[in-house]
């Protein structure tokens, strides 16, 4: 196996020598479960030497809501709202993943209009989720203003979702067999208006935050995660692409007609430090928003008339068997391992939360960071605890 040299804070690492008669005591610091920058109820026990973090041990499970157990009790359709609550910032994508897993096992075909609608909503929700990640990352770094700007734009996406699905956070819009309802009048026009408005805003975020000197100094060369480390710890999504590996399920194993769209996979290039540092992970999200805008534009162009649902019984019965299906969530690959015994509810549903795997790399990256870098790291990994704990 290859040895990976971690290079957090090169100028702070004590190279070799400190006086032997100076003894310092290490401090155990309990970060969370109630802490502003743990993005939920994550608890990280830090072993610190002054401001230097020697060891970080995450403890999760504070938001465990037994989603997998519930899935064994309720019917497939009834479980769709529960998927909303996994990664509550990207509920559309979760709906999509679950619907696709059920459709794969049941052999259900989806009409083309529904497929394009799914792509549109998934990508819009990806933009919304990345906006949240970008804004709250600014907040983690002490810049409050980008958060509000990002929320301003996310509000518009929420309005679009609300007019289509009736909900602003937990949509349950993408259901088994298609999407729940067709678009309201004028929705496509409003969506185009949003895209035209939103695209130049990305430049504003870059000018305000991404290229800010302080921000770059805070995030560049911090929490460097090389590509093989990311892959080894199951990191996916921006955490993997930020490390320089162009791996995206939308390209690798296209679903929902993603192969019909023209888009690129942005990767971290180490512009402000080593490849795979916090800045790269952050900036990949910004670039992905640009790509998502591209995809949504193309999907809006291709949107054909037709039904948005296939006929699926109210209580879905799947044949006995199993399937593992993954989709590319904003935070990485969301997987559903669905086992059916022929009944009306899942025999076993294992959910692979991307944040769960992305977070597992934290104990490797955290040593030799400063206390302030922990929030930089956590923010750049961009976890959603609803999905980590499920």
């Amino acid at each position: 196996m290859k040895e990976i040299e971690l290079q957090c804070q090169p100028d702070l690492l004590y190279d070799g020598e400190i006086p032997s008669d100076v003894r310092t005591e290490e401090l155990m610091l309990n970060m969370g479960p109630q802490h502003p920058s743990t993005h939920g109820v994550l608890r990280v026990v830090l072993q610190t030497d002054g401001e230097l973090v020697l060891k970080a041990t995450p403890y999760i499970g504070y938001l465990h809501r037994c989603a997998e157990k519930i899935a064994e009790k309720v019917t497939y359709r009834q479980f769709t709202p529960y998927t909303d609550r996994l990664d509550y910032l990207a509920a559309m994508n979760n709906n999509l993943g679950f619907a696709l897993a059920v459709e794969k096992l049941g052999g259900i075909e989806v009409p083309p209009r529904a497929d394009y609608l799914r792509v549109i909503f998934a990508e819009l929700n990806r933009i919304g989720s990345h906006l949240m990640a970008t804004g709250s990352y600014g907040l983690d770094m002490g810049a409050f203003t980008p958060l509000v700007y990002c929320f301003r734009e996310r509000e518009w996406i929420m309005d679009l979702f609300e007019s289509a699905s009736g909900a602003r956070l937990t949509y349950s819009y993408i259901t088994i067999g298609g999407v729940r309802e067709d678009l309201p009048d004028g929705w496509v026009q409003r969506c185009r208006e949003f895209l035209d408005y939103f695209e130049p805003k990305i430049t504003e975020y870059n000018n305000l935050l991404s290229y800010n000197h302080i921000f770059i100094n805070r995030t560049g060369n911090v929490g460097v995660c090389p590509a093989d480390l990311a892959v080894a710890y199951g990191g996916t999504g921006p955490c993997l692409r930020g490390s320089g590996l162009a791996w995206d399920l939308r390209k690798a194993t296209p679903y929902c007609r993603y192969n019909e769209f023209d888009f690129d996979i942005p990767v971290g290039r180490g512009q402000n430090g080593a490849v795979g540092d916090c800045w790269d992970r952050y900036f990949v999200r910004i670039l992905e928003m640009v790509q998502s805008v591209r995809i949504v534009r193309q999907a809006l162009d291709k949107l054909t008339d037709g039904p948005v649902q296939t006929k699926v019984p109210r209580i879905v019965k799947l044949p006995a068997g199993e399937v593992y299906y993954e989709v590319e969530n904003p935070r990485g690959q969301l997987g559903f391992h669905l086992v059916s015994d022929g009944g009306t509810s899942a025999y076993r549903l294992k959910i692979r939360g991307p944040s769960f795997c992305n977070l597992s790399v934290l104990p490797v990256l955290a040593p030799n960071c400063l206390l302030a870098d922990i929030s930089a790291l956590l923010g750049s990994i961009d976890i959603v605890m609803g999905e980590v704990d499920r």
Partner: protein, 442 residues
């Protein structure tokens, strides 16, 4: 069923007494106050202004010093409170506008002017929580140690000639000394809270303040060398006669010293990007994590009072103090205006920049700011040495540079106002579609 039995606690303390009195009287008083809020506010402003003016003009020569002192101190206290209250409200409005929000709009009907008052009232009613394992006496003392020195700085701060509580020869040093004591309160709070986050906040505060005091003092010393006085009134008086005679345009070293002072003063007020002691995304709330109610308000007050104090110092020393920039009559109004502008810039910076990391804070000070200010100090001294009739060539050069710098300053100010005008003209485009609908006058 699991039932939680709340431990019986005897509530006591000054805050509770205040609350009891306030709830008793407030039931009648507050609705009345709110109904006549406009009138009360203007009456208060008029009363304070008239009061201070009368005291400064007439009572001063007539009454014994002691009464004058009491009166002036009460006036100063009122001023400081108004500074803090308006500062907090202003911060929220400024941040709102920067973030394409509105900020407080409801309380007091006109742009939420009474928001800080309402918040203060709420804070007074809060239970005065002291953690069981905290060091009780120090925990109680800390907010006072933070607030009182910040107020004491105003005792030597002249608002104009004759507009000062005590005009000492060493008033500049006195103000600096008082601002330096404030850190003790913060450290005390951090340690007494017996919380690790607070301790981290206190540690950072200690590191940061002790380091940044040096470049801050050195930048001011560069100006002191140019005028030969540490008396704030004398420092202000040499800058009369229009903005060309401001010390900031005196020589290039002072021009730079203004900016180094301003950066260092941001650090000494714990303002962003140097707000590490309370950086909420890292240290929860830093040194005041465990504080609630009125004690928390005192820390808040101390911050805004100190903000105005450092800005006032910059105004007096670099920006001509109470003198009008266009050569008209000098007045304390100019002083307050300029200081407010600098406070506003502090807010502007805060809502724009991310926070620096602690090692970068120390590097910036020790590796860059400190040597740089030492050079400025040296340069300013040398300039003073050569800027005299014995060196006519240098004198001409100095004059040319002096006016050149003035033009640079004018250009900067012009750019600022142009930007402001541009922003105002394009406000609809800049604030974005969503916010536009909700802006007043839309």
């Amino acid at each position: 069923m699991y039932t939680y039995e709340r431990p019986k606690v005897e509530y006591k303390g000054l805050s509770l007494t205040i609350v009891r009195l306030a709830t008793k009287w407030g039931a009648i008083g507050i609705p009345l106050l709110l109904r006549f809020a406009w009138g009360v506010f203007f009456a208060a402003v008029v009363a304070v202004v008239a009061f201070v003016w009368i005291v400064g003009r007439f009572i001063n020569p007539l009454l014994p010093w002691f009464i004058r002192d009491v009166v002036v101190v009460v006036g100063l206290l009122a001023f400081v409170c108004i500074v803090a209250i308006i500062g907090i409200w202003g911060e929220r409005k400024v941040s709102g506008r920067i973030q394409s929000r509105l900020g407080p709009m409801r309380t007091g009907h006109w742009h939420g002017w009474a928001q800080s008052l309402a918040d203060g009232l709420k804070f007074v009613q809060k239970e005065d929580l002291i953690p069981r394992d905290a060091d009780q006496p120090l925990f109680r003392l800390a907010p006072y140690v933070a607030l009182v020195p910040a107020f004491c700085a105003y005792l030597a701060l002249p608002f104009g000639v004759g507009w000062v509580f005590r005009s000492a020869d060493v008033s500049l040093l006195f103000v600096l000394a008082m601002l330096a004591i404030e850190v003790l309160g913060v450290i005390m709070a951090g340690w007494a809270s017996n919380s690790k986050w607070s301790l981290y906040g206190a540690m950072r505060e200690g590191c940061q303040l002790v380091s940044y005091e040096i470049p801050m003092g050195l930048s001011l010393l560069a100006a002191v060398v140019a005028t030969g006085s540490v008396n704030l009134i004398e420092l202000g008086e040499v800058q009369s006669g229009g903005w060309f005679s401001w010390l900031i345009f005196q020589n290039p070293f002072l021009f730079l010293a203004f900016f180094t002072y301003y950066i260092a003063s941001l650090a000494s007020c714990k303002r962003s990007p140097f707000d590490l002691p309370e950086g909420e995304s890292e240290l929860v709330a830093g040194f005041h994590t465990e504080y609630s109610g009125f004690r928390f308000v005192m820390f808040f007050f101390a911050e805004y009072v100190a903000m105005f104090a450092v800005s006032a110092l910059a105004t007096i020393i670099f920006l001509g103090g109470w003198h009008s920039p266009i050569g008209g009559p000098s007045s304390p109004l100019w002083f307050v205006l300029k200081s407010t502008f600098l406070v506003w810039v502090q807010m502007w910076v805060r809502w724009t920049l991310p926070r620096i990391r602690i090692d970068q804070v120390m590097h910036a000070c020790v590796k860059y700011l400190l040597p740089f200010t030492l050079l400025l100090f040296l340069g300013s001294s040398l300039w003073q040495l050569y800027d005299n009739p014995a060196h006519p060539a240098f004198k001409t050069f100095a004059h040319l540079l002096h006016y050149g710098l003035g033009c640079v300053g004018l250009l900067l100010l012009g750019l600022y106002f142009t930007g402001m005008g541009y922003g105002y003209y394009n406000r609809n485009r800049l604030v974005g579609q969503m916010a536009r609908k909700h802006l007043p006058g839309a």
